[in-house]
Every structure is written in C-alpha cells, then in structure tokens.
Symmetry: C4
Subunit: 229 residues, 4 copies
C-alpha cells in the first residue's frame, strides 16, 4: 500500500546523496499523503545505497507505525510536528549539509543578498532560538519541531521553505518530498554564496524589498512568468 | 532553419552544466546570426539534460519569436539589449556561478590581481549600479540590460567580456556562444582567486598597467603571440 | 595467517583514497588483533592503488616484524604507542586531510559548535602540545604517540576518537580499522564546518553541555536510541 | 628521436589536467635530456586532450627548435632560464592552480606551517620580486626566469622545488617532468592548508627549525628513512 508515496520518499532520500548533501546516514526525507493521513519516512541509520521503497516506514500523524519492519528516523517527531502545523507542505527534509550547517552553528540567519536567494526564499532564512535545557532533556526531537513552528509564527512556510535549527542544521520542506530536497540543495548553494558575499564585503546588507518582490513573485504565485506555462 | 546557430547555442547551454556553473536551470546562453538578424536562446526553465537544438527558441532583435514552441528564457530582454548595443558580440551567457555571484552580491568589482585575470579581461571586472525601484518594477529584464550598457559607456565589450550585475550575478559574452561560456568559466576561476588573494593579503592592490598590457596584449589584438599561428 | 585482519586493514587504507582524505601516500591505517597481539599496518610510501592484503606488514606490540617483505609505515611507532595505551581501540588512522590539518597547523582545538560534532565527539577535539626539540630529535614517531597519550590523561579515547597533533595533522581511531577511517572522514567534515562557523560568527562559542550530552548519548552507550536495534 | 623524453613530457602535461591544476591550456610542463642538451615542451595553446608525444616541441638550450611543427609554449624562455641556472633539475612545470596563485597574487611567501609542507619544501615557499616595467616590456618570459633565479641566490632548487612569481602564479620543478608535476600538486595542497591555518589562527607562525629538519630530512638526503629501501 501507498506504493507511490514510498517510491517518492525513497527517491528523495537517495537524491540527498546524489547532490552531496549527506555522508553516511546524515539526513532524512519524509512525505505525506494528506488524504490518507499517512507519512513515509527513511528508516534510522540505514545507508542511502541500501534504501528501497519497501524499507520506508509508514506512520500515522501521531507517529504510530502502520507498516515497516525498521525503526523510523530518530528525527521523526520533528517531521510530524511540521506536518501537523504546516498544513500546505507535502515533504520534509533534514540534512547536515556543510554550508547551511555553518550558519546554523553560528546561530545566524542567512540574509537575502541576491536574486538567487530571492528566487526561492521570500526573505532571510530564519534561525530558531537556541533550545533551553528543558526542551533538550525530554522530547528533544518533538521540541525541535516546536521551536521551528514557534519561529514561523509570522512566516508562511511555503514562502520560506527552510529553517536553520540553532547549533544543529537545516530543515527544509516543499509541496512534495522531491521539492523538500530541491530546497535543501538551493539552501546549501545560497548559504555558500552568502558566506562569500560577506568575505568580499563584510558590511553588505540584504537586497531591497522591491528586488525581493520582483524575483520571488516572478517565479511564485499568480503572476509568475518564469518557466513554461 | 538556422540549424548551425541552434546547435551552437544548444551545445553552449549544455556546457554550463559540464563546467558546473549551474544547477537546475540557473543559467542560459544565446547566440546571434548578425547577417540574418536572428537570435537563438535557451527555453525558460528547461533542464540542461533535456536540451536539443530544436528546443532552442529563435527570435528577431525585437524579441519576436520566429520559431520554437517553448517560451524563451525570462532573461531574453537582457540578452537582446546587449546584442543591440554591443555590435561585435556573437554570444551571451548568464549564470549564477558561485564565486562570481559572491562578488556581484557584494556589489564589488573584481580587481585585476594577476596575470590569469589579465589574460582575459583588460582591467577590473565591473559591477553595475544597484537598480532603482522604477527599473525593477517594470521591464526589469530589459532594464537589467540597460544598466549593463550604461556601465560600459567607457568600456570596450570585447576587451571586457564580463560584468557583475549588482545583487544578482554575472553576464558574460564573446564572439560566439561558446566564447561567452569560456568567459563565464574563466570569470568563475578569477573570482575565486581574487577572493583568496584578499584572504591572504587584505590590502593587496591590482597589478600595474604595464603587466596588464603585457598579458592582455600577448593574447589579444594584432601583436598577440600566444598559441599557434 | 591473520588474513581477516590484513584484509580489513587493506580495505581501510584504500578507503582513505575513496573518501579523498589523502593524495600520494599521505596516510596510513592499522588494525590490531588483541587476542593474538598482532598489528597489521600499511607499508611505507606505497600508493593506495597498489595495496593488496598480502602487502600489509604484521608486527607484534613491540614493533617486531612478524610477516611481510616491505617496511612498515614510518608512523608505526605512533600507532604502537596508541595501541599500548588505549586498550579499547582496534584501529588507528593517520592522514593529512585538508581541514583537520588546518586546525592542527593552527595549534587550536576544534570547539564543539553543533550536533554533527556532538554525534561523534564528546567535547572539543583536542590538540597536543607542540613537541619540544628533544622529543623531535630522537624517537620522533614514538614521541608523537606519547604527546597524544599525555593529552588524553583526562579523556576517554572511545568518547574522543580523534586528536590533532600540533603542527602536523590528525590521528583518529575506533574499535576497528574501518571505524578509525569513519572518524577521519567525520573529523574532516567537522573541521570544515567549524571553520565556516567562525567565518560567519567569529565569537561563536561551543554548544551547551546539555545538548552535547543529548546528542552524544543518543548515539552512544546504554541509552542510545539512534539506528536499528 | 628522443621518444622517451617526449613521452614523459606529454604524460606530465596530461597529468596537470588529471590533478585539476589547469583548465583550458593554462599550464605547461617541460623536460630535459642533459646529456643530449635537448628540451621537450608542450606546444602553445593546445588542449591537454589533444596532446600526443609527437606534438611536443624539441629545443636546444638556446631555444632553437630542433623538432616539431607547432610553436612551443610562450613560457619557453622561462623554462630555459631555469634549466640553465638550476643544473640539477630535469623537469619544469607552470600552472595557474587556484590556491598557489592566490598566494602569488597576494605577493606573499607561504610559511611552513606544518609537516605536510616540511615533507617537500625545506622552508617557506618563496615569492619573487614584483617585476619592474623594464623587465615586463621586453623579454618578459626570459625576465620571469631571471627574477626566479635571482630569488634563489641563497636557496638550493632541489630543496625548494617551487616558487611563486609575484602577481602571476607558481613554477615548480623536480628531477623529472613527473617530479615537477608532483611538486605542483603538493604546492596546491600546501597553499590551501596554509590559507586555512591563517583563517583559524591569523597570528600563527611557522614551525621550528628542528621540526622542519626532522621532516624534510626524514624523506630527503642520505639519512632518509621514509618509504621502501
């Protein structure tokens, strides 16, 4: 059952390795079938080369395993929290990709320094609060989801499909599992470029709202005119 | 019709991926047949792996589509503006290649720090003005071309086949589509080296005019003596 | 004899090249059979492409060659000193991998800036003292082992399977030869991320003890819950 | 004639591309048969993929072409000057490899920050004087050789098989053409590590003479004990 979902989630996980966002088993992707209320996610600690659709773990929105013999990713409670709160998303991706993780470890949001960034993210990529001891000591992975959701109180997840968890690394999402990986790839590139921008000019500021609007809305929403109709 | 032009433009677009200057569909190359007044350009938002000569879009210099079923690159008006003003060029290339984009985002020209740079660019690689709201809000892509042309009031496009659009990224050109891609490859290398140069010595200044003349003119113009006759 | 050990050590040495931790013959891995008191190590100065299990050199814990026609790695006395003092380890790896070597050359420990680091190393990755002339002039490789062991007086080698030898580069270890290489791969990644973290925020401090405990103990020890049971 | 020399020089040039030290035709290697007084060098501006032994150009020590239909590298006079003054060398290599070029463009010698460097170079890698206008305007390539030789007045070329030409890039050499390329590969790595070392600790100083002696002499000279006998 849910073969299409398992296939899509399996493929998206394998793409993490293709795009060099992960080594060993340092990342995971999940996807959701909203109508069925079913989530598929990577099994914990399994190498990407060994992934097949039937190894994906199926869960309901409360985290109860519906199908699969392997344990789900240890980050599963974070994914669930995101699906429960960001109703429009269909895939979630977590990696420790190098450049995005540097910003996350530095606890600093990524300013929007150019149009590459503005084509995908409608503003600076936010960083969460540093988690407090109580949030870490129990229900850590669930609370990781909660600090993300808290940070998005004023943000639209589809206009900002990425976050940096402070001291940790990026979570990204999209309408599909593949879309969440695309956001992870772009974030890695944007993070690298932002670091280089500061190296060339350490007082550089973000682009204007006008340019941000132009590029973001050129590709997204009703008036988009990029790509084929 | 114009098979040779479409083939050359298709190949040049594919080279963007070979040289790792692009991911997804983040760049485009065009070429012009000056005699026929015909421009071929990449279709918008199509992956490089799927490009074939017959997918190239043919336009006249006013941007009217002559042949092709796909929409042309959304950057087409920028390309047209460059062809109309830089009469000696035969190919235009736009990418968001990492190192060149870092300088563009930092709104800083790339000083000529060495002979690698001087072999291709006759001086610092210029950066355009930051575009004002009115230039962004309407005819954005056309105005992108106009700020480039304005920046070249005192520059010879064939001696400086590259520019950094502020807050955005590089445009490069050459006598042919392939030549415009070669300039994009070299610019990426030169941008990386310039950044490293400043990291080693943050008060380093550009090379002397004498050394610039020597290297540039060793490879270009009537007295060139590099390569085979 | 000891075919399994020689095979494991040969494979682990070849992995150094696969993971791009070495060029030429800039690294070596050894393994130990504690019960037999036998160590297998890479021969000195031999290219990874030419390695076969029968070229591994077998030694006892005093460094006496038991089997093999080639000279053992010139770093052998360092490996022996580690096996003699760190009783729980089964493999040792030495490389000059770029990012870890940068920190070693800078004589600076790698702070634990995030959970990627905390998943593998229970605290900052330590750097040894700079060796004094007497330690360098005679028994240099043995003394390299001694300064490492000295640095670990208060540290548990299995909780901190890596060290930076000042002015030199990393040594890593693990329960097996393959495990020592995994630590070398992770260290290289962690070193790169730490450098980038400081570039983004040069006053960034290490993560809290609570977060370090959470991540390290999530993967290691009796209460680990990462991966498959 | 001189088939062996042409083969060795051709192979060494192709290795520049294999080791990613060059793009386009940005580097060249030569070799000398001291007994015959014959030098083989890459033809100017020819792509590495198209090189075959019979395309190598043969010259005498005065630069007179003995064999070959193509023009020799435009850097030939630099190579000749090095062969005439450094009597023990058998191969010369010139590239614009990224990291070494950054130091050359910054006009800064590469301090010996660690044992990786000390294994190959007996001290800081020197940088030449900036060439004066008269040296650039006539006999530029010959004068490039002369500023290198001048810089080596107090240095032994076999103990320091590399130099940075200010504002330009590295020249390396060795006992053979292949040896000159190995030095170019190592220099690139050493240059990258030195830059990273300064990023981690910007007041880091070079290693002690004792450690330099230990590592350099462990691999070179009568008392070397690295590798197989």
């Amino acid at each position: 059952m849910h073969e299409e979902l398992k296939q899509a989630v399996c493929n998206a996980n394998i793409e993490l390795q293709t795009h060099k966002l992960v080594i060993y088993s340092w990342g995971n992707v999940s996807g959701i079938d909203r109508q069925a209320g079913v989530i598929a996610i990577k099994p914990s600690g399994v190498a990407y080369d060994e992934l097949t659709p039937d190894k994906m773990v199926l869960l309901d929105l409360d985290g109860k395993v519906i199908e699969g013999e392997l344990s789900p990713s240890s980050d599963t409670p974070t994914h669930l929290e995101l699906y429960q709160n960001f109703k429009a998303i269909g895939g979630v991706c977590h990696t420790h990709s190098s450049n995005a993780t540097m910003w996350a470890q530095a606890c600093r949001e990524i300013p929007c320094f150019g149009t590459t960034h503005a084509d995908y993210y409608y503003g600076a990529v936010p960083v969460t609060d540093v988690m407090i001891p109580a949030e870490i000591q129990s229900d850590y992975e669930l609370n990781t989801g909660k600090v993300i959701v808290r940070r998005f109180a004023q943000l639209n997840p589809l206009q900002m499909p990425a976050v940096l968890v402070a001291n940790h690394g990026p979570f990204t999402w999209g309408k599909t599992p593949a879309g969440s990986v695309e956001s992870a790839v772009v974030l890695e590139q944007v993070a690298a470029m932002a670091m280089g921008t500061l190296r060339v000019n350490d007082s550089q500021e973000g682009i204007s709202q006008v340019l941000l609007d132009k590029h973001y809305l050129r590709k997204h929403g009703d008036n988009a005119y990029y790509g084929q109709k």
